[in-house]
């Protein structure tokens, strides 16, 4: 890629008098916009997929200690503790790959077909990968992804401004994120990329602003959300495409290329939009949204209908790849929510359309997808609810990864997790957990064949915390664990892989430098083992 002038450099140039000072403000703004529009000339395709577990995932029950520290964990987790019981992943590995894992009571995690009991039954030990953790029993696919070097674990990460110690918290000198423990603000801070700035636009939105016109000026832009209008994707001058899973629809009576009846109504609709674009700010806003929606659905429907993807790969129970396994196969009392899997199916198809130029607007170069999964705010009856969520997460990740492998895009796509925060290790009266801070996360991608520029799968990055309440890593005495790795470090590393200009990384993640081991080298803050160099 070629290096182009970015906004900051340009502003510096202006400040230094390097640009003509005889230009008026308007002229300078125009120049600045040109500078902003300078988008790298990518020759390849890459996608980021952000899996956001809304509500605060309990990562400490997704991945539990498999070594001697399990005793500390079990003591504070009490009734919610996953037992120290390795179920033996290898016994089902080949069946999982072949789609013959067997359902119902054949599931390794089965206990009387009860998800609540399965949740604490045991784990799949990752000791063979040198990781002293076990994956919750209800997530065999997730464990297999680690084993196959397609997924790595980020230990105890979270939303941070700067490294924090328990002592600093007690002294009230810690540099903490704003409104730590409040859902919406922690979600937002993770999305702004600045734990101490909730007002900023999203970090992916900033990338989209900076890469204006990426993907050959396609109106679909850089960012696509399958879960509403997430701040992550919102820029100052760009906004994400927000879609629901499933086939894109078209406007009634106004479909593109559908004859004169439709065409004359399209013309009228656009005429009325044009009127709105000359009115007051709110009408302009609304008219712009109407126009954009029509443009995008024109493009999407035409393309989507032309291509139908049928996967030969099967799901672990032998189901069609993106089908949701039945409650019987899952061996639970209730089925899993079907929100995540169809969304990932849509992401997979959208990636394939972009890579292959199915939009006929030139091959896509870069895309960022946002997929949110709700329900992780497990204040009550966590064993029941979290079991279903983790089961769904494990299956959805597996299916998506398999789809990318079959389509040949696995090395082009990196999927990573974010979540509001982790949860208290201590449990509450309702059999649930409350808002806390650090949690285990994951990054998925690659084809399991180590090569330069691909995910260094099957590893654990970061350090495991002391899980004792009131211990050295506890915020206070409830088991709210202080993260040891910042989400910014993860994001910066992923963005580096994504091809974000080095100069933009500290601008987009201004706090990442606080984590640099070598103050003069910001890249020392990155998780340099995450990708193979």
């Amino acid at each position: 890629m070629t290096s182009k002038m970015n906004r900051r450099k340009f502003m510096q140039l202006l400040a230094a008098g390097g640009a003509s000072s005889t230009l008026g403000t308007v002229g300078q703004l125009a120049l600045m916009n040109q500078a902003v529009a300078a988008t790298p000339d990518f020759s390849d395709y890459k996608a980021l997929v952000c899996v956001f577990m809304l509500g605060g995932n309990d990562g400490f029950n997704m991945l539990v200690p498999s070594d001697a520290t399990h005793a500390d964990y079990a003591a504070i987790r009490a009734a919610l503790a996953v037992q120290k019981n390795d179920l033996g992943l290898s016994s089902i590995s080949s069946a999982m790959h072949n789609g013959t894992m067997g359902g119902g009571s054949s599931n390794l995690y089965n206990v009387n077909l009860s998800q609540e009991s399965a949740y604490t039954k045991g784990f799949y030990d990752l000791g063979a990968k040198g990781i002293p953790l076990g994956v919750n029993a209800v997530m065999p696919e997730f464990a297999q992804l680690v084993t196959d070097d397609k997924l790595s674990i980020i230990a105890n990460s979270g939303n941070m401004v700067a490294p924090v110690t328990r002592e600093q918290i007690q002294n009230k000198t810690a540099n903490l994120p704003l409104f730590l423990f409040a859902h919406n603000h922690q979600q937002r801070a993770l999305q702004t990329g600045q734990a101490d700035n909730l007002d900023a636009i999203g970090w992916a939105g900033k990338i989209a602003d900076s890469w204006a016109g990426v993907n050959n000026n396609s109106s679909l832009g850089l960012n696509i959300s399958y879960s509403g209008n997430s701040r992550l994707l919102i820029g100052d001058t760009t906004s994400p495409l927000i879609l629901n899973p499933g086939n894109p629809s078209s406007f009634n009576d106004m479909k593109l290329n559908a004859g004169s009846w439709s065409d004359e109504r399209r013309d009228l609709f656009r005429e009325l939009i044009a009127v709105g674009k000359n009115k007051d700010p709110f009408q302009k806003l609304s008219a712009g949204l109407l126009e954009r929606s029509m443009n995008n659905f024109d493009l999407l429907t035409a393309t989507w209908e032309r291509k139908d993807i049928t996967y030969s790969t099967k799901g672990p129970y032998g189901e069609s790849l993106f089908d949701v396994p039945s409650t019987d196969d899952l061996g639970f009392q209730q089925g899993i929510d079907t929100g995540f899997i169809p969304r990932m199916e849509n992401v997979a198809k959208m990636i394939d359309l972009g890579v292959n130029d199915d939009f006929n607007t030139g091959n896509y170069k870069r895309q960022i997808f946002f997929v949110g999964l709700g329900g992780y705010d497990t204040h009550a009856r966590q064993a029941d609810g979290h079991a279903k969520l983790l089961r769904e997460l494990s299956l959805g990740l597996w299916k998506f990864q398999k789809a990318m492998e079959e389509l040949g895009h696995a090395d082009k796509v990196t999927t990573f997790s974010m979540s509001d925060f982790g949860r208290t290790l201590s449990i509450n009266a309702g059999g649930g957990t409350d808002h806390a801070w650090g949690s285990h996360h994951f990054v998925m991608g690659g084809s399991g064949n180590p090569a330069s520029g691909t995910l260094n799968g099957g590893t654990m990055i970061g350090t495991l915390p002391d899980l004792n309440p009131d211990g050295p890593d506890d915020y206070s005495d409830k088991g709210r664990i202080i993260p040891t790795t910042s989400q910014d470090q993860v994001n910066a590393s992923i963005c580096q892989w994504f091809g974000l200009e080095e100069s933009l990384i500290p601008e987009i993640f201004p706090n990442v430098s606080n984590f640099a081991s070598n103050p003069s080298d910001i890249t020392s803050a990155y998780l340099n083992d995450l990708f193979i160099s």
């Binding site: 100052d236 009634n252 009228l268 009325l272 700010p281 609304s286 204040h379 009550a380 009266a429």
Partner: protein, 944 residues
């Protein structure tokens, strides 16, 4: 409580902020200078006055210096201690060698032991000095190169001989400073203001710092708790420090208001209308109040019952408000303007309509009259839709325990919501209290529960019950509302404190923090300290704003949540089989929860003090008549100054405008704080203040950014109300015996619309989380909004997909569910049309009778339904114009843009659709499509 003083980050900041600027450090300075003054410093030379010895007889008439010096020394010998002590200069003057500061005391000591006569000559003294061995004139004790007798500090090396106060004693020896820089006669050291001349040393606040120097007046003359120097009116007690004109002089003291709030060039103190620009100062009735703000004109020129000051047409008895004013009001205060309502407001005026609505009877006046509560009507609808089930036992309440839980009840609750939003042809009282219902809906977006909760999903009765709490208190008090919400089974289930228990060391559990946090963060005071106008409060004074800086001061800390969580224990659904049980069929979910003291946090039993501290206020965990501490906690939260701007701004944004001015928020928040009768939280007064505010009413008081995007669901209700929505009669409910597939009951008089979220991205009581459908500070990706930091919360759900699905719902429903279309195009009766409709259909019929009538009257000169002149382009143009005049009024409040109208007209005159030989069909398309294109335009999406 666990810790004696859970210090918030907020309070630390605030306290240290006040302390730093207060009296502490000044006092310390003062003490330091005092103590140095009282030190007995042996090196301090006496004041170098000439000796007071004028009457000594031995002195010649014209004594020389040496004689005076000698005399002084000898007198000292005679009366040591009584007369002035000889100084080095005295010995030098007397012609003696070798006396210096370091040996002076020793020499004087020896001199004092002698008699006057022993030292009455230079020689005698010199011999004394010789005995003391201090004679060497070249002695240099400190070896600084300057002989002791010449050295201004012989004991400490100081080759530069610096002596800034010129007292003969070098600085290094000189511990005090007896200069008098300001030449006011008080040496610096003792001067209470050494930098400025203040001979009188006045220090009115007795802080040791003279007034001339003192910027801090630590007195509090008016005893209002604010030190004079911080007090914008030190003479008159004014704890609120109100300073409306921001001139730094508090209102209590301010006799001259020099600001010019309305920027009309005439300062407030002489402006006959300081609130509104009126450069001409016209005052027709000469009452001293300018015409533009004269509301005291109670005369009624046109005798229409609306006084002139409230009458937009004071000389026209047929109207008191414009169509546009009426439309705006109804957009803000109802679920959509109907033509009838517009005409009413035009006739009676805006204020009268608001008053009528605020006093309108409701379902909560009489439990057994025909105006039913949401819960009562939900039960009745359930009975109509599934008649074989004994939903209703007596009255209109659910027969507890029978067939609840049930997935369908939430659909009947939604039916009831639509009935109250849209009105009902038979249950005429339902929806008559539009303003109350609209406020309830606004409150449901502030105090959120949702059917998305897996348990409430099956207990629609609980949702209806909760909505009744909102509607009942919509014109009541916010504190009462909080009490009922906090005790409701609905909120208990939704935010997981139903069954919450005290800490249990054996199972390592502690109280659930969910409600504690959201109650503070979302329902009452928010995350950061606010000024009265809703802006961030950084200076600790809610009445001064905006505050400079960028930090936000948090309102609470984690410790507050931990403490409040303890309060929120011990509550369980009424009639539950065991404490905290979650079985959906075994408790009353449409009732207040019951308090169980045995499950309430009991710190005393664990050795604690039984107190909790929340937001800096401490109260007993078991306080209150029920012993739950809940009311004490709610009182503490309710007293927080944030609640007024927090709730007021939320409601303004929901009803009127996304970006209200600071002054608008402050005006409403003031009413929240005090309704005029000293009551805080009076929602009736708050709603009245919001709707009657000049910023809500008067275009000349509105910025370019006034207004908001309508909520998508309100776009739909407005449309339905504009076109006479009624229930589709005859749809099929569930079979008596078979709740699975069979459908047999014929249902009349019941709206259904079970899944509005699928079309509009939102539905009442169906938010995906406690954070409502959108964030209040959502800034859309639109340069004008992002550059100006303007919010448009509703645009957050105007996604590409939602826009498309809403468009399609409107386009199809407003055509295919229209009575005339069904009759004339489908050629079906309504009953036939309804026959295959179920709970899952949108059983809401609109009709364009009035539109067809006026269209055909203009087209054909009759209303026989044949639309015979459709193919005559001149006639059609006349008819289209008549139709657009009418639709402009009822759909857009007479604001249709001329270009917009031209585009629509052109289409209606040129499209082949309307030239069809089937003129009836063509006319039906024309009317429905005209409505559809207005309804899906940006003009219709915006409320201004």
């Amino acid at each position: 409580m666990g810790k004696l003083l859970p210090i918030l980050f907020a309070s630390v900041l605030v306290l240290s902020g006040c302390g730093g600027g207060g009296s502490g450090s000044d006092t310390n300075e003062h003490l330091d200078s005092d103590s140095s003054e009282t030190l007995d410093d042996p090196n301090t030379p006496d004041t170098p006055d000439t000796p007071d010895t004028p009457d000594t007889p031995n002195i010649p008439d014209t004594p020389d210096v040496s004689q005076i010096a000698l005399l002084k020394i000898s007198q000292y010998a005679q009366t040591a201690g009584a007369s002035a002590t000889p100084q080095v200069q005295d010995y030098i003057d007397a012609g003696l060698q070798g006396v210096n500061n370091s040996n002076l005391a020793k020499i004087n000591e020896k001199v004092a032991e002698l008699n006057e006569g022993d030292v009455d000559s230079v020689a005698k003294i010199q011999s004394l000095l010789d005995q003391l061995d201090v004679t060497a004139t070249d002695q240099d004790y400190d070896q600084d190169g300057i002989a002791d007798n010449l050295d201004n500090c012989p004991s400490i090396a100081n080759p530069d001989q610096q002596d800034i106060d010129n007292d003969g004693s070098g600085d290094v020896c000189d511990l005090s400073n007896d200069r008098d820089d300001d030449a006011d006669g008080h040496p610096n050291e003792t001067d209470n203001c050494p930098a400025k001349s203040n001979p009188n040393q006045s220090d009115i606040d007795n802080d040791g710092k003279g007034d001339a120097c003192d910027t801090t007046d630590n007195r509090d003359n008016d005893s209002d708790g604010i030190l004079n120097s911080n007090d914008n009116c030190p003479a008159i007690s004014n704890t609120d420090q109100s300073d409306l004109d921001n001139n730094g002089v508090g209102d209590a003291c301010d006799t001259t208001d020099i600001s010019d709030d309305d920027y009309d060039g005439i300062i407030n103190s002489v402006d006959n209308c300081p609130a509104a620009p009126n450069k001409n100062q016209q005052d027709t009735d000469n009452d001293g109040k300018g015409d533009v703000c004269d509301s005291t004109d109670e005369s009624d020129s046109d005798a229409d019952g609306v006084i002139n000051s409230k009458d937009e047409y004071p000389e026209d008895s047929s109207r008191a408000a414009s169509v546009n004013s009426a439309y705006r009001l109804l957009s803000q205060a109802t679920f959509g303007a109907t033509e009838e309502d517009i005409d009413t407001v035009v006739k009676i005026g805006v204020d009268a309509w608001i008053e009528n609505q605020l006093d309108m009877s409701s379902a909560y006046d009489n439990p057994s009259d025909s105006h039913k509560t949401h819960l009562q009507r939900t039960a009745e609808v359930a009975q109509l839709a599934e008649p074989s089930i004994g939903w209703v036992q007596s009255g209109y309440t659910f027969n507890s325990g029978v067939d609840l839980p049930n997935w369908n009840v939430k659909y009947y609750q939604m039916s009831t919501w639509f009935e109250n939003a849209l009105g009902h042809p038979d249950n005429v009282r339902h929806g008559s209290d539009q303003l109350r219902q609209r406020i309830a809906y606004a409150l449901s977006q502030l105090i959120v529960v949702s059917a998305k909760d897996p348990r409430l999903d099956q207990r629609g009765d609980s949702l209806a019950y909760f909505y009744d709490i909102l509607a009942k208190n919509a014109f009541g008090n916010y504190r009462t509302l909080l009490g009922e919400v906090s005790r409701s089974a609905t909120m208990g289930v939704y935010l997981t404190y139903q069954g919450n228990q005290k800490a249990n060391p054996e199972t390592s559990t502690r109280p659930d923090e969910n409600y504690a946090r959201e109650l503070i963060q979302l329902f009452t005071i928010g995350l950061s300290e606010l000024n009265l106008d809703g802006s961030p409060n950084r200076d600790g004074n809610v009445n001064s704003y905006p505050d400079s800086g960028s930090v936000q001061v948090p309102t609470y800390g984690q410790e507050d949540i931990v403490e409040l969580a303890k309060v929120m224990t011990g509550w369980d659904t009424k009639g539950n089989t065991y404490y905290g049980g979650t079985n959906l069929g075994r408790a009353d979910y449409a009732a207040p929860m019951v308090f169980h003291p045995e499950h309430h946090e009991d710190e005393v039993a664990e050795g604690g003090d039984g107190d909790v501290t929340v937001l800096g206020k401490t109260f007993a965990l078991n306080s209150g008549t029920d012993g739950s501490g809940l009311d004490a906690a709610l009182d503490v939260i309710f007293q927080h100054p944030n609640i007024a701007p927090f709730v007021s701004k939320n409601l303004i944004m929901n009803l009127v405008t996304s970006n209200p001015s600071s002054a608008y928020v402050a005006r409403v928040a003031s009413v929240f704080n005090d309704n005029g009768a000293g009551v805080k939280g009076d929602l009736k007064a708050v709603v009245n203040a919001i709707l009657t505010d000049s910023e809500a009413r008067d275009s000349s008081n509105q910025s370019a950014y006034f207004g908001k995007l309508k909520e998508p669901i309100l776009v739909f209700t407005q449309l339905l109300r504009s076109f006479n929505a009624t229930p589709l009669n005859g749809w099929k409910g569930r079979a008596d015996s078979d709740r699975g597939d069979g459908r047999s009951a014929t249902v009349n008089g019941v709206y259904t619309y079970s899944f509005p979220s699928n079309d509009f991205g939102q539905a009442p009581l169906r938010s995906s989380s406690v954070f409502n459908f959108y964030q209040p500070d959502y800034i859309p990706s639109n340069t004008e909004f992002s550059v100006n930091k303007l919010v448009s919360p509703e645009s957050q759900i105007q996604t590409d997909g939602n826009i498309l699905s809403a468009h399609n719902k409107i386009a199809s429903h407003m055509q295919r569910y229209e009575k005339n279309w069904i009759n004339n195009i489908n050629e079906e009766t309504l009953a036939e049309f309804a026959a295959n409709k179920t709970t899952w259909s949108t059983n809401i019929i609109v009709n364009y009778d009035r539109e067809f009538e006026l269209f055909e009257q203009a087209l054909d000169g009759d209303t026989n339904g044949d639309f015979s002149n459709m193919r005559n382009i001149e006639d059609r143009e006349i008819a289209v114009n008549a139709l657009l005049d009418h639709l402009d009024k009822i759909m857009l409040g007479n604001t249709m843009d001329a270009t917009f109208r031209q585009a629509l007209t052109n289409f209606m005159l040129t499209s082949g659709t309307y030239n069809n030989s089937n003129t009836v069909r063509a006319a039906h398309y024309l009317v429905s499509e005209t409505i559809r294109y207005i309804a899906t335009s940006s003009a219709y999406m915006v409320q201004k």
